[in-house]
C-alpha cells in the first residue's frame, strides 16, 4: 500500500506541475486584463505542436524546442492582446467571445498543419528514477516538475521584486489607479499576455513527449484550468498554485483508487462546493470575483 500511495503521489506532483503552469497563466491574464481567455487550452496545444515541429520533425534539441514553444506562444499571446483584447478592453464579454473564436482558428490551423491524428513523438529520455524497487518516476516527468518549480519561482520573484512586476500587480488591483500613477495599461497587458500565454505554451511543450497530441487536446486542459482558478480564487496566483496541487492530488488519487470518470466528477464537485461555501475561491478577493 505504501508503494501505491507513493507512486500515486509522484503522479499527482507531475500533474500539479503542468496544471499550475497553465492555471497561473490564465489567472495572470484575467487578473491584469479582466478577460477570460477561452483559447488558453489551445495555447497549451500550440506549445505541444511547436515541439512536434521542432523536436520530433527537425531533431532540434528538446529544451531548445521548449524554449521556442514558450517564446512562440508568448508572441501569439501578444498578437491576441493587440488584435482581440485591446480593441475590446471595455467589453470583457466581447473579449471572451473573441477568444472562443480564436480557439477555433487555432484548432483549424493545427488540423491544417498537422492533421487530426494524434502525434506520438520520440521520448526525450527513457531514464527512470526508481525508489525502493517499486516506486518510479520517468526523468521526463522530473523535467516538467523542476521546470514548473523554477518558472513559478521566477514569476514570483518578478512580481514581487521588479518594477514591471509591481506594475502588473498594481494594474491587477486597480487599473484606474495604476493608470493615474503613470503605469501603462497597454504595456502591462502585453507583459501579462506574453507571460500568461508563454506559460501555457511551455506547459504544452514540456508535456508533449508524455501525452497524445491532437488539435482538440486543449479542451480538457481549459476545463481543468477553470476548475482550478475558481477553486483557488479568480485573480489569485497563490490560489491557482495551491488549487492546482489540491486538484491534481484529488483527481489522481480518485483515478487510481476508483476511476477516471469519478475523478472528473469529483473535481467538478469540488468546484461547486467552493462556489457555494466561498464564491470568491480559497484565496480570491470579492472585487475581482
Amino acid at each position: 500500500m505504501f508503494e501505491l500511495l507513493a507512486q500515486t503521489s509522484l503522479n499527482a506532483i507531475y500533474a500539479a506541475s503542468y496544471i499550475s503552469l497553465v492555471a497561473v497563466g490564465l489567472v495572470l491574464i484575467f487578473g491584469v486584463m479582466g478577460v477570460v481567455n477561452f483559447a488558453h487550452g489551445e495555447l497549451f496545444m500550440v506549445g505541444s505542436y511547436v515541439v512536434v515541429a521542432l523536436y520530433a520533425d527537425r531533431m532540434v534539441p528538446f529544451f531548445v524546442a521548449v524554449a521556442a514553444g514558450l517564446i512562440f506562444v508568448g508572441l501569439l499571446g501578444l498578437l491576441m492582446e493587440r488584435a482581440l483584447f485591446r480593441p475590446l478592453r471595455d467589453n470583457p464579454l466581447g473579449g471572451l467571445v473573441a477568444s472562443i473564436g480564436f480557439l477555433m482558428v487555432l484548432q483549424a490551423l493545427a488540423v491544417l498543419g498537422f492533421g487530426v491524428r494524434m502525434e506520438h513523438i520520440p521520448p526525450v529520455t527513457q531514464d527512470v528514477i526508481t525508489f525502493a524497487d517499486k516506486i518510479s518516476i520517468p526523468v521526463a516527468r522530473v523535467y516538467v516538475i523542476v521546470t514548473a518549480i523554477v518558472m513559478l519561482s521566477a514569476l514570483w520573484y518578478f512580481l514581487k521584486r521588479t518594477r514591471f512586476g509591481w506594475a502588473l500587480r498594481a494594474s491587477a488591483q486597480d487599473p484606474e489607479a495604476a493608470a493615474l500613477q503613470g503605469i501603462s495599461v497597454t504595456q502591462t497587458a502585453m507583459i501579462a499576455m506574453f507571460i500568461g500565454a508563454g506559460f501555457a505554451g511551455m506547459a504544452g511543450a514540456l508535456t508533449a513527449p508524455l501525452i497524445s497530441i491532437n488539435p482538440h487536446m486543449g479542451h480538457s486542459v481549459i476545463i481543468t484550468a477553470f476548475i482550478v482558478i475558481i477553486v483557488g480564487g479568480v485573480g489569485s496566483l497563490e490560489g491557482a498554485v495551491l488549487a492546482s496541487v489540491v486538484y491534481a492530488f484529488v483527481h489522481t488519487f480518485v483515478t487510481t483508487f476508483f476511476d477516471g470518470v469519478l475523478a472528473d466528477i469529483t473535481g467538478l464537485a469540488l468546484m461547486l462546493i467552493v462556489l457555494i461555501v466561498k464564491p470568491t475561491g480559497l484565496f480570491g478577493s470579492a472585487d475581482r470575483a
Binding site: 518510479s136 497524445s212 477516471g260
Partner: protein
C-alpha cells in the same frame, strides 16, 4: 397520373399519392446499372479523430483493391463489366454525422453498398438503413440485432475473436494466472471487456480487479497504469483501446517497470511502440491483427487474394501506415464482389442472398459460417478462424489460427453471461 392532372386538375388525393411515390423513390437505392456505369461503394467511417486508425487505413486498402480489380476488367454483373470506385465520408465516429453521411452516399452518390466501422455510429445510421434497404457492413458484430437485417459483419468479428488470443495464451503460457484490464468507456470498449472476461474465466485466469474503464478524453495514463500494476498481475489486458491509448499505456507500463505479459486487441504502429519502449519490453506482446507479409497467409485456407502482394503494395504507397484495418474493408469488398457477380445484380437483397447462400462464406482467414443467432439475434456475422499474433524480435508473427465457433461451443455460456452483465447483448442495447 399526369394526364389525369392535366384533365381534372390536381386533386388532394393525387397530390398525396404523387408526393409519396416521389419520396419513396428518392429514398430507395437505385437498382439498375447502365452498361459501363461505375459501381460506387460507400466508405462511411472515421477518417479523422481518435478512431481514424480504424477507418482511414481501410480506405487506403480499398484503393489498392479497386485498382487491381479495375485493371482486371472490373466487376462483372450479367453481361457487363463495371469499374468500381469508392466514395468516402468522414463520420468522425459521430452518429449524427454518420447519419448525414449515409443519407448523402445513398441519395446523392448513388452507392450500391456502404461499408462502416460501426460501433457508436451504427445507431445513427440504422434508421437510414431501415428506410432505404441499403446493404451495410460493419467491423463490429456487436452492432447486429434481429432488426439489422441489411447489416453484415463479414470480416472482423469484434469482439468475439478476442477469445482466441486468450486461449492461445493459456495454452502456451499456463504459468500466467492473474490478469487486470483497462478500456475506454464506449461502444468499442464495453463488449470487448465482456468478451475478455469470459475468455479469462474459460482459461482459468483470475481477474485481480474490476476492469478499469477510463474516460476517452484521458491524456495522462500514469494513474491508470499505477492502479493496474498495484496487484502485481501476470497479464495486463488493454482490451480494445484505441491505438492512441495503447501507445501511452504501454509507455507507462514500461516506465513503471512492468515486465509481464501484455495482451490487446490491436497493436497498430507497434514499431513506434518498440521505439518508445524497447524490443525486449514488447517481446511476446499478443494481439489479433497480422502484418500481411506473414508466410502463414499464403496457406490454402486463406481466402484473401495475394495477401503478401497486397501488403507490399500497401507499404510502398502508404509507408508506415499499415494497421489493423488496412486489409479488412478490402476483404469485405472481395466478398461483396463475388456475391454481386454470382447474383448478377448489385441490388442489396440479391447480393445479400448470394453472400449468405448455403450458410457459409469465404472469410479472409478461412471458410466460415454465417453465425450469430444466439449472440446477436441474427446470423449475419461470418465467423470462423482468427489469427493469434505475437511480437517476436520486433516483428508481428502469426502463431496460430484458432476457431471461434469451437471456443463458443465450449464456453458460449460464459460469453453470454458477461455480455449480459455489461448490457451488451443485442436485446439489451438501446
Amino acid at each position: 397520373m399526369f394526364s389525369n392532372i392535366l384533365k381534372n386538375g390536381l386533386s388532394r388525393r393525387t397530390f398525396l399519392k404523387s408526393t409519396a411515390a416521389t419520396a419513396l423513390a428518392a429514398g430507395l437505392p437505385s437498382i439498375a446499372l447502365a452498361a459501363g456505369e461505375p459501381i460506387k461503394i460507400g466508405f462511411l467511417a472515421p477518417l479523422t479523430g481518435a478512431t481514424a486508425a480504424w477507418g482511414a487505413p481501410g480506405l487506403s486498402g480499398c484503393e489498392i483493391w479497386a485498382e487491381k480489380v479495375n485493371a482486371a476488367g472490373g466487376i462483372k454483373i450479367g453481361d457487363n463489366s463495371h469499374m468500381v470506385e469508392f466514395v468516402s465520408y468522414d463520420n468522425e465516429y459521430d452518429p449524427a454525422k454518420a447519419r448525414t453521411g449515409a443519407t448523402k452516399l445513398i441519395r446523392e452518390d448513388d452507392v450500391k453498398f456502404v461499408m462502416m466501422l460501426g460501433g457508436d455510429t451504427w445507431p445513427g445510421v440504422q434508421p437510414v438503413a431501415d428506410r432505404t434497404g441499403m446493404l451495410f457492413s460493419t467491423l463490429l458484430p456487436s452492432d447486429l440485432s434481429p432488426d439489422t437485417t441489411t447489416l453484415l459483419a463479414p470480416t472482423e468479428v469484434h469482439p468475439i475473436y478476442l477469445v482466441t488470443g486468450v486461449q492461445w495464451l493459456a495454452e502456451n503460457k499456463p504459468e500466467l494466472k492473474t490478469a487486470v484490464m483497462c478500456a475506454q468507456d464506449d461502444a468499442l470498449g464495453l463488449p470487448s471487456v465482456a468478451t475478455y472476461l469470459a475468455a479469462f474465466e474459460a482459461a482459468g485466469i483470475e481477474m485481480q480487479d474490476e476492469p478499469l474503464l477510463f474516460d476517452p478524453a484521458t491524456t495522462d495514463f500514469a494513474p491508470i497504469v499505477t492502479r493496474l500494476l498495484s496487484t502485481n498481475p501476470d497479464i495486463v489486458c488493454l482490451d480494445t483501446c484505441y491505438s492512441d491509448y495503447v501507445h501511452p499505456i504501454c509507455e507507462q507500463l514500461f516506465q513503471q517497470g512492468y515486465k509481464g505479459q501484455i495482451i490487446s486487441a490491436t497493436a497498430d504502429f507497434y514499431d513506434q511502440m518498440i521505439a518508445k519502449t524497447s524490443k525486449e519490453f514488447m517481446e511476446g506482446f499478443i494481439f489479433q491483427f497480422p502484418d500481411f507479409d506473414d508466410p502463414a497467409l499464403n496457406g490454402d485456407n486463406i481466402n484473401f487474394e495475394d495477401a503478401n502482394g497486397f501488403y507490399e503494395e500497401y507499404n510502398k504507397r502508404f509507408p508506415g501506415q499499415w494497421g489493423a484495418v488496412s486489409w479488412e474493408y478490402a476483404a469485405i469488398m472481395q466478398l461483396w464482389k463475388a456475391a454481386a457477380e454470382k447474383a448478377g445484380s448489385v441490388e442489396p437483397d440479391a447480393v445479400l442472398a448470394a453472400m449468405k447462400d448455403g450458410g457459409k462464406g469465404k472469410h479472409a482467414f478461412g471458410d466460415a459460417d454465417w453465425w450469430g443467432t444466439e449472440m446477436f439475434g441474427i446470423d449475419n456475422a461470418l465467423v470462423g478462424d482468427w489469427p493469434v499474433v505475437v511480437i517476436e524480435d520486433g516483428k508481428a508473427v502469426i502463431k496460430s489460427f484458432k476457431s471461434i465457433p469451437a471456443w463458443y461451443e465450449q464456453h458460449g455460456d460464459l460469453l453470454i453471461k458477461h455480455m449480459s452483465a455489461y448490457d451488451q447483448m443485442w436485446n439489451q442495447r438501446g
